[in-house]
Subunit: 325 residues, 2 copies
């Protein structure tokens, strides 16, 4: 079992590789080799007896995708991409990496002619307002960002390449990943994590939107579970509709804060400072709120049941299970 991960230096990529090394197996087979690709060198995991090759290169550059699949990986996890804010700020870069890079990788797999499982991380950014209260699986994607557009185009390619038998693709639309470990960043969605992460670490956090804002979340651990399940699932059972909205916990910011109080107490909640930001609000109010995610749940994808669980996963996975005194 040889595995290629693009975007392996990213947060989800790193956690996926750690998990796969821990499991040692995928699809019932022993993992013998990793190809870890990113624009910067990914950290090679310590894994005795497993051959790890680190590729630092630009996926959209001529020949790069071909070189990545030359070793015929049995499973390709395609996580690489320019994030939403960057794809919006830099039009050419976004299309080049997210569309051309994805197409180059899919074409390289097609031309290699051996039909592996390809797992593609799409995003709920394929959806654009207005929405019904709960977005059903059959709701049309009308992205309101270039990032969402590029993900939608990748989904379309994935489904067609799968239908034509070039590979066996599964696209997973990730909800907002929460709690993101690390430092606060400038993403418009950053506050969803920082209002939990910073107070848990005894630091202040800013809440720029009303507490009534509803959004769907899953932990980084769930994101990795989705990826592994997408790699292992029976393609026949999925049928021709290969792009699946993942499950998640749909809660308001107010409910996130109540969960924080239950898990970490009032002192943590007091570290959240409300500071309305019209710019962030203008972006966030067009984001999808809740998803039905009926198909993905039926196909065995699982997220946390409550936001309390999402907080507990963060404490377990990122804080060694211990809250600071």
């Amino acid at each position: 079992m040889r595995i290629l991960v693009t975007g392996a230096a990213g947060m989800v990529g790193r956690k996926l590789v750690e998990r796969l090394v821990r499991d040692g197996r995928l699809r019932g087979q022993k993992i013998t080799a990793f190809d870890l690709h990113d624009i910067v060198p990914a950290t090679a995991p310590e894994a005795a007896g497993v051959d790890v090759t680190v590729h630092a290169s630009d996926l959209a550059r001529e020949g790069v995708a071909d070189s990545l699949v030359a070793s015929k990986p049995d499973v390709v996890f395609h996580l690489a991409g320019v994030v939403s804010g960057e794809a919006e700020a830099n039009f050419d870069l976004g299309y080049r990496v997210n569309l051309d890079g994805t197409r180059a990788l899919f074409d390289a797999v097609r031309l290699a002619g051996y039909g592996p499982r390809v797992v593609f991380t799409s995003s709920i950014a394929v959806f654009g307002a207005p929405f019904p209260d709960v977005i059903p699986d059959e709701f049309h994607p009308t992205p309101l960002t270039s990032y969402g557009t590029q993900k939608l185009m990748g989904e379309a390619l994935l489904a067609d390449y799968t239908r034509r038998g070039f590979f066996d693709g599964i696209g997973i639309r990730l909800p907002t990943i929460n709690v993101r470990p690390g430092k606060p960043n400038k993403a418009a969605s950053g506050f969803f994590s920082s209002i939990i992460r910073e107070p848990l670490a005894g630091q202040e956090a800013v809440l720029p939107v009303p507490r009534s804002v509803v959004h769907t979340h899953a932990s980084p651990r769930s994101a990795v579970n989705f990826l592994v399940h997408a790699a292992e699932i029976d393609g026949e059972a999925v049928g021709p509709r290969r792009n699946l909205t993942m499950p998640g916990v749909g809660v308001s910011v107010g409910e996130q804060i109540k969960a924080l109080r239950r898990v970490a107490g009032e002192a943590a909640v007091r570290l959240i400072r409300e500071e309305p930001d019209e710019t962030i609000w203008a972006i966030v109010k067009n984001w999808p709120t809740r998803f039905e995610a009926k198909r993905s749940r039926e196909l065995g994808f699982k997220a946390e049941e409550t936001f309390d669980d999402i907080i507990r996963v963060h404490i377990e996975d990122e804080m060694a299970g211990v809250l600071p005194p």
Copy 2:
């Protein structure tokens, strides 16, 4: 008012140009020039005082799209494309023309930097079975052909390029155009037209599918009406969801035949020979049946009300209003 039409040598392209020449105006302005593009030379219309340039070239070839928009056409009708059957039979050609050609044109308009109206013909092929009885505007596109995939990707680009202000795009999803003039062709959908066109001309036609098959139709005249309306409509009124399912007449093959009887009599109907074809049936049974097309109707797009009207349009426009004795 300068107008660029790609795919100008095709059936709809020719009729569009004839109509525009007849009207002499578009968006309230006098038409002064046409750029007519196709892979083969389009017929230049006779239009006194109108400058007509015929471009025969491959839209996906480097530099071609730039040369087409060099004259800064005020309205771009992008009809060019490889048809469904060909895009399925020839994977590379379909993606090259339908995706790369469309993107090249859109990028040329973007880089020209003057923001014209762009009308793009998409197709109900963006939808794939299974469907509800009537497909609502918010139903998700899950194409089951490479052609439908390429059209969906073009739609996504159109919406994003419009959102970013590169141009003012309208995508129209055409239903099956019926009655197609000319000779029978080998398209799987060909029988929808031939069971009307051939009997009207006193010739036999083959019906390869059950009479219960339901499908949505609009006349070539309506297709041209859609295009002209899409060129003239107020973009603000359309909002960010720029791809619209056109209205049409949703009828069963049995109802098509009853309409033929009403318009042309029993003798015409007797010329239809039922000859089931499993291959055609396997394709047709995955096609969408009826559409709600609520938004497009509200935005003023109009098709025929009955299949009788569709037949009458054919007699008027293609048979000089006269049935053979």
